[in-house]
Symmetry: C2
């Protein structure tokens, strides 16, 4: 019998909590460490609770809950982690997230990045060029409704691949191991030779709907209902088309007009009030949004290949300014305390 | 000595209050009627107060304050109004604003529309095709800081012209009379053969800055500072350029690249935090915004001439959805009361 791997989950919002639960079923609560921030008090005393339409209601678990990566390393007796799973929101932090992980990373640690957006792996690759780096694209409709309490429905699918896609066989094997680990915990996974196809596919949806819904404070069906199709629907479609053209310039030919048509049909079929994308949820409470990961990086990847994305660039300027407003407001609140 | 004209001011926000004061100086408080809504209680008892950097501090006046047009007609003994001055925010109402004015309009009443946007005169023309109709473009930095209390600074300039610009000499004479009336009250006016040039010129600024600032919750300088010029500044410039191309398609050739350059230079020179456009002020309190007057009509005028305005159309969809959100929220509040 081999010893179970030791896993650190960095960030326990809704996605982090559900994957922590899955991992806790695979490795046990003793070998699973979770870095918590706003939900630390509840998680460290009462543990986490998940109500899921597919895993079950009232699921409770209590891993090793810590406040920082340093604390995780110390609590684990200095032993290295086999997996560091990044499920924190992809926003700029100081120090950067890759930097914060440093105490937990040994030469053998596999880093799995479960974050939205495109090119989000680059900062991890830059800091840990020799570590196995896994890029993961998640489909998991989940919401943290109270500290350490998460509701989840419908699907829990993780697309996994190495970053870069042409990594060594040894790193490729880690993608398979991580997949097996999650499957053992009840997760559903797909390992890809090149997982970036999945990133672009999700990005076409996220980089259009997320900023549009956050800026207009509307759910997706509400946005579509707010003006005739030649305006509302056309804006979404045009944004998706621009993103598809960027994907194609980077060699992902199957992100095309058909992808856009499929996503538009899905949106049109949705009943009022529709779905609340994560950026809208953030915007409603004035929280920082994943602007660079989801929109800014797409704009810059377009520029690198000389692809024209006038609407995406306009949306980027708007959402970046809204995010800056949230930052100003939160700094005001802090200084007023 | 001729009897002074009898004037009705419809809408007494900041612009309505300052023009009511100017008119009260020209015709006297007895012949000036103001339709008030949210500030009725204060205005009808204590009158209005204006603090102006050019007219003076602590200016007080008390016209005939009424709640509705019917009340104005009744209070004035059923006598017709010589001027009906529309200074209400240009938003959709039920019944429409032109319809609400009906009791005050005789065949000789001059209707002066002091509202933002483009093509805002059309509904008045449709309902009162034979009345003298004046289109006015106002430059008046003023804010209602409390009910019936307005601060004002810097400039009070009104551009006046008939609508349409090729109206009869009799109607043209009314533009001159209205101008003389305001000048007698201390106002500054300019009468134009075709005042639409002034409308397009102001629209180039308003249809870009207003929705961008409302969507991003930023003042103009804050927006420009939130991302590099190739994004933030470029969005404003591209929107202005689209509007200029619409103006040109309608024969207003002096709204061109030079206009855009001039306005961009003005914006770049502005220091942080910058100016708060009216739509941002509305958005901050969740009030209805002048979406159709300022953006929607520009988009439709572009379509009529086959001018491509992809960014303006995108911005229109976004700001229309935000406005719909405000409407939903206010209906929720009403039903919760």
């Amino acid at each position: 019998m081999t010893t179970p791997p030791r896993v650190l989950v960095f960030g326990t919002g809704s996605v982090g909590t559900v994957y922590a639960w899955i991992l806790s079923r695979a490795v046990g609560e003793g070998d699973l460490y979770t870095v918590c921030r706003s939900n630390y008090a509840v998680a460290s005393t009462a543990g986490f609770t998940i109500n899921s339409t597919i895993f079950g209601d009232g699921l409770k678990f209590k891993p090793q809950v810590v406040r920082t990566v340093d604390e995780a390393v110390s609590l684990s007796g200095g032993k290295p982690f086999d997996y560091v799973v990044v499920t924190a929101k992809a926003i700029q932090t100081t120090p950067s997230m890759p930097e914060q992980l440093r105490p937990a990373i040994s030469p053998h640690t596999t880093i799995a990045v479960i974050q939205n957006g495109i090119a989000v792996e680059k900062p991890y690759q830059a800091l840990y060029p020799d570590n196995p780096l896994l890029s993961c694209v998640v489909y998991l409709p989940a919401t943290q409704i109270a500290p350490a309490v998460v509701t989840h429905r419908e699907i829990a699918l993780l697309h996994i691949g190495t970053y870069p896609s042409n990594a060594s066989p040894e790193h490729k094997a880690r993608a398979e191991s991580f997949s097996r680990l999650l499957n053992a915990g009840g997760g559903r996974t797909q390992v890809h030779e090149d997982v970036q196809t999945e990133r672009w596919s999700k990005l076409a949806v996220n980089a259009s709907w997320n900023p549009v819904c956050a800026l207009s404070r509307s759910r997706d069906a509400q946005f579509l209902a707010s003006s005739p199709p030649e305006y509302a629907l056309n804006l979404i479609k045009s944004l998706m088309t621009e993103i598809a053209s960027v994907a194609q310039a980077w060699g992902y030919d199957n992100i095309n007009a058909k992808t856009v048509e499929f996503q538009i049909d899905r949106a049109k079929a949705r009943e009022l009030p529709g779905v609340e994308p994560s950026m809208l949820a953030d915007a409603k409470v004035g929280a920082r949004m994943e602007v660079e990961a989801i929109v800014g990086n797409a704009v810059r990847l377009a520029e690198e290949k000389g692809v024209r994305t006038p609407l995406l660039r306009g949306i980027y300027a708007l959402i970046k300014a809204l995010d800056a407003t949230f930052q100003r407001d939160s700094e005001k609140k802090v200084s007023a305390q």
